[in-house]
Subunit: 190 residues, 2 copies
Amino acid sequence: MSIQTRRERERAERERLIIAAARELVEAEGWEAVTTRRLAERVEYSQPVLYSHFKGKDAIMAAVAVEGFADLAAELRAARTSAADPRQALADVGAAYAAFAERRPALYDAMFTHAVDLPPAGPEAPAAPHAAFGELREAVRPLAGEDDLGLLTETLWGGLHGLMTLTRGGRLRHEGHERRLALLLGRFSR
Amino acid sequence: MSIQTRRERERAERERLIIAAARELVEAEGWEAVTTRRLAERVEYSQPVLYSHFKGKDAIMAAVAVEGFADLAAELRAARTSAADPRQALADVGAAYAAFAERRPALYDAMFTHAVDLPPAGPEAPAAPHAAFGELREAVRPLAGEDDLGLLTETLWGGLHGLMTLTRGGRLRHEGHERRLALLLGRFSR
DNA sequence: GTAGAATTTCTAGTGGTGCTAGGATCGTCT
DNA sequence: AGACGATCCTAGCACCACTAGAAATTCTAC
């Protein structure tokens, strides 16, 4: 029994090691630099061990993304709870979201852009993404008016996401980024 | 002289053939199915000829994307000019944008998501993307109020783009898609 | 303590990718 | 006809994600 548990513990530890290594690699050099070879070398194991933990490279990306959701949720929560009034809270949460996307672009991509098979946001979603979405929703709630809260939050989320991805992809000039954000948030805090 | 021009004409024709084949392939099976081998086979040439026309696969994607921008611009224009009043025009243009993204998802990705090195939207952008953006701007203009028209259009664009990509990536449920779009457009046609 | 069983890990390979060097082939001009 | 030049293809590179089967390690039981 003890041997079994020790092995499981070691396995779990190694799995965390793989995820951490993948995250370091991706944040430093982007997703195109994350190959199974480099990742295996980084954790000092051979490639096949990766496949004993994860179904494939996509599953590793998904695991990294889930970590990202936890971070994002924490940052959004901090922004929301330290604001003076509801309007400021929404502005701060929006700014925190944008800052996260700018600070960790590759991680953000894994969470929202890359086609990893995470369930959609909503009640049935995994805990971390759900929590991140919940922070956004609570920031919107006081200003929702008579509109459906969930849908309104999703719409604002779409706006933030679109601005971030278009800007980062070079489709929008960086100049004016702040003002676009303010414009968007303004339309949602009437 | 005539020989020269004939060769140039044939070259241009073949280039169009390549782009058309790439577009057919990508719209039928998605970007992961577009490999240089398959594309070369499709146009009945060997791989290296692709590289005599384009710097690499990314350049082919970019060429396909530019075609897409022309299509999008035309569809947005049709939606805008056939609407009765400004509010309806904005609603129709937004719906046309969403319909385009839903109808040609892979093409849309090449245009807006994939990292092809197109210059950013704005005055210095290539003609087709600029035209598409212009249609959006003209739809926004009558309802811009005192906000900066360009920034406001970019913000709305971000909202549309975000909703489309999040929905298509499985982060938002399809249910409620229409209502989210309506919510977004409503916030921009005050 | 040691032989055998079970599990874990690695070596080596498959079929794919984007891309390219160098030689064969073709049309063109003298 | 024969040489020149542009054009195109064959063959190959280095890399990718992923996997089968051998090797090594760990545990079990005598």
